[in-house]
């Protein structure tokens, strides 16, 4: 159901969409059942002249089972939801596949800084590409992200990936995703981070291998220097 509103662009997005649909069906069933019974009772037992209410204490066995049986069924539904939730959580947050590439995501008031590994594919080397509010990813590649924050709490949220993780100053948080859909999508900050919280958006570009390589080429110091000879590009 979610994918009809937001495209599913990561390898685990379908799991979240699946658990949403599952919970929607189960709780929707209970909700409709309760409301139908509820409104039916209201109309059935509206006050009529000369028809007094019955005296029911709720301990009569043949009536009490109308509470006990649904009660057990709710518990059974909970078990299904629990199993699904544990599996999805395990796959996304607890299990960590081997990375093909690693990006560093740094939140600060009020911008995202992304450090991409350069052509050598390794972070913290001389050809790292540092961008602000632009994350460039290669399609169908397992990425690790290292999430950091400079000042306050932020939250790295990419709805199309179904990914969300708080960034905490003083800690490095590692997680993973694998983009599966080429395109350009929103990145948001999902944790109140001050006055500019509403402006703290970024774009994620999921590109094919060739396009990604081409983008990296434009970001190399040589290419940048050729394009903007007057401008010095600071690199750490």
């Amino acid at each position: 159901m979610i994918e009809s509103i937001v495209p599913a662009a990561s390898s685990y997005a379908w799991e979240i969409d699946y658990i949403f649909t599952m919970i929607f069906v189960l709780t929707g069933f209970w909700f409709l059942l309760c409301e139908v019974v509820f409104f039916w009772l209201i109309f059935k037992f509206k006050a009529k002249d000369g028809q007094p209410a019955e005296y029911i204490t709720g301990s009569e066995p043949h009536l009490k089972r109308w509470i006990t049986i649904p009660h057990v069924l709710v518990l059974v539904c909970d078990l299904f939801i629990l199993t699904a939730a544990v599996k999805v959580w395990y796959d996304i947050k607890q299990y960590l596949p081997e990375p093909e590439k690693t990006v560093r995501v740094i939140g600060q008031q009020w911008a995202w800084t992304f450090v991409h590994p350069g052509p050598d594919g390794v972070l913290d080397s001389s050809d790292d590409i540092r961008t602000v509010n632009e994350l460039h990813l290669e399609n169908e590649t397992v990425y690790h992200y290292q999430l950091e924050s400079v000042d306050v709490l932020h939250d790295f949220s990419v709805p199309v990936f179904r990914l969300k993780q708080d960034a905490i100053p003083g800690r490095v948080i590692t997680g993973w995703f694998e983009p599966t859909l080429e395109g350009e999508f929103d990145v948001q900050c999902a944790e109140m981070c001050g006055i500019g919280h509403g402006l703290m958006g970024a774009r994620v570009f999921v590109e094919s291998a060739e396009k990604h390589a081409a983008w990296m080429a434009t970001q190399s110091p040589v290419a940048l220097a050729a394009n903007f000879p007057a401008q010095r590009i600071g690199k750490e």
């Binding site: 409301e35 009772l41 209410a53 509470i67 900050c189």
Partner: protein, 570 residues
């Protein structure tokens, strides 16, 4: 209940009520009468609700029509927006739901329903209200200091809330925190009073299982509050020290831990939901039994599920922290407990619905409110499952789905619950009947727009739209035309709903002055408060009642009348 002690000690009651004609000051301002204190809480809560509602109006206008000059407010800047959403949340929970549902109804109903002349600690009670009033004034003053009101969300996560250089509200955040702390102290004193009175000072013959459900719910809610608030007070002191004295409890650069605050906050924050939920559920129980002329479908079932809910409510709090960087394995435990807590709540809903079976339902205004509480709260309940399930919460955390979910719980609690209780006990409180026709207009004018505000927000949440963002035009996918249309729909529904509240205030004032005189027991109810005069005098009864049976003996076979008051010997 009286002890022969002089009343100059802090922990002891003054039981020597004078019954002479009091002056204006001692009657309205410094009264120790529980009914007067209840009214003070009620009207303060309502005034704060108007302020909180105005804030909702201002920021919803900004969301629907970004950048316009909101009539009556002006341009909503990002700083304004943050301060508005922060204080809207804090006011509606701490200064509306808590004072009205627990303090006002608790103060009014506990002595009257338990058959005593006043609270056991009347002076403590008065002190509690005075501190509460002070906290409200302090909170409102935070808007008028340099830097403006606090805008770090009602959860006040540090380091944003801890350092002025991040929040840019050097005074606002400390004043806000101080107001919250004062408010906690007020309810701490109130809670002690409620529990002691209900447990220690009941009418002769009123056994534990003869206490009306609403009193049980208020008592259990008070216990939950008292037990959960300690860690947050500790956290608030630490955060205040961080802001003003330069300590580093939550500063990671100097050895602190920002996640620690979330720990202390949510330990209180989740039980707090049940603190306000339970009284509203109790009010609903009273109303449904009276207007369906039915015994509650299993008094002990309701009581035991309430206790189970209370116990479980202490074990679910970390589900607010699924994605905040705690050990991911903890999520499994808290998913389990969160799903478990749905069982007693679902059972309670089943019991309420089953109570209607075989009844003789009269759709008066209070009954409409009571029934709508069940119908609307069910939506809030089932949507909570999406957020309690850790896997789904990864996507829904901090989206409009969360916002719509908790408004579907808090709106029934704070607004529907309050109107239900107020319309039901209005004859007792003020001695006059409320206009039923205007009451019904107000009811439909509130309930229908309410659903049109928050159902659209569920859709926006599914679209991955995050809350607390003051202008979506910065996010191309979130400012698509259909999403903007949904926001306009939600905002216009809010305007309609706010407009219909005028009907309520008109009805309230007119009924107060010239409504039909109410008899002692206009609804033909069983509980003790209906045996006192309307409104009850100081001291409530000339002769305190004795209790002979449970509170819900309606339509007992073989009796002429379909109700059987608790104080009638037979």
């Amino acid at each position: 209940m009286a002890e022969s002690i002089p009343s100059d000690s802090p922990a002891v009651a003054d039981d020597h009520h004078g019954h002479e004609e009091p002056s204006f000051w001692s009657k309205y301002v410094f009264s120790t009468d529980h009914k007067m204190i209840a009214m003070q809480y009620m009207f303060t809560g309502m005034a704060m609700a108007v302020i909180g509602g105005f804030m909702a109006y201002a920021f919803r206008m900004q969301l629907a029509f970004p950048g316009i000059e909101v009539p009556g407010f002006g341009i909503v800047t990002p700083a304004n927006y943050n301060a508005l959403v922060t204080n809207h949340g804090a006011i509606m929970i701490f200064w509306v739901a808590m004072p009205v549902l627990i303090a006002a109804f608790g103060n009014y109903l506990i002595p009257l329903m338990c058959g005593c002349d006043d609270m056991v600690f009347p002076k403590l009670n008065r002190l509690s209200y005075q501190i509460f009033l002070l906290s409200a004034v302090v909170l409102l003053s935070s808007f008028f200091v340099e830097g403006g009101g606090f805008g770090g969300a009602w959860t006040a996560y540090p380091p944003l809330s801890a350092k002025a250089e991040y929040s840019l509200t050097p005074l606002g955040s400390s004043i806000w925190l101080g107001a919250v702390a004062l408010e906690f102290v007020a309810f701490l004193l109130g809670g002690i009073n409620f529990i002691t009175t209900a447990m220690n000072s009941r009418a002769p013959g009123m056994k534990l299982y003869d206490i009306p459900i609403v009193i049980w719910m208020i008592v259990i809610a008070s216990i939950l509050f008292l037990v959960s608030v300690g860690p947050l007070i500790a956290g608030a002191i630490m955060l205040l020290f961080d802001q003003q004295l330069g300590t580093a409890f939550f500063d990671p650069a100097r050895g602190g831990d920002p996640v620690l605050w979330q720990h202390l906050f949510w330990f209180f924050g989740h039980p707090e939901v049940y603190v306000v939920l339970l009284p509203a559920l109790g009010i609903t129980a009273e109303i449904i039994t009276v207007f369906a002329r039915k015994k509650l479908f299993g008094y002990k079932t309701v009581l035991h599920t309430t206790i189970a809910t209370g116990v479980l409510s202490f074990t679910v709090w970390a589900h607010h922290q699924f994605i905040s960087g705690v050990d991911p394995r903890m999520a499994h435990v808290f998913t389990l407990t969160t799903l478990l807590i749905s069982v007693p709540i679902a059972e309670m809903m089943f019991v309420y619905i089953a109570t209607l079976y075989g009844g003789s339902i009269r759709l008066t205004t209070p009954m409409l409110w009571g029934l709508s509480f069940i119908a609307e709260f069910l939506i809030g309940g089932v949507t909570g499952i999406f957020l309690g399930a850790s896997g789904a919460d990864i996507y829904f955390h901090d989206t409009y789905f969360v916002l719509a979910h908790f408004h579907y719980t808090f709106f029934p609690i704070a607004i529907i619950g309050t109107f239900a209780g107020l319309t039901f006990w209005f004859p007792k409180m003020f001695g006059r009947m409320m206009n039923d026709r205007l009451g019904k207009i107000h009811f439909w004018g509130t309930i229908i727009p309410f659903n049109f505000i928050f159902i659209p927000l569920f859709v926006l949440g599914m679209g991955g739209q995050h809350r607390r963002i003051f202008d979506y035009s910065y996010f191309p996918e979130l400012s698509m035309p259909w999403m903007q249309d949904i926001r306009v729909l939600a905002t216009s529904s809010l305007l309609i709903m706010l407009g219909f509240q005028v009907v309520f205030f008109y009805n309230f004032i007119v009924s107060l002055r010239s409504g039909e005189k109410a008899s002692k027991n206009p609804w033909k109810s069983n509980t003790l408060e209906w045996t006192a005069d309307s409104p009850p005098p100081h001291g409530n009864w000339k002769e305190l009642p004795t209790v002979y049976r449970g509170p819900y003996e309606y339509s007992v076979p073989g009796r002429d009348e379909d109700y059987w008051p608790q104080d009638q010997p037979n």
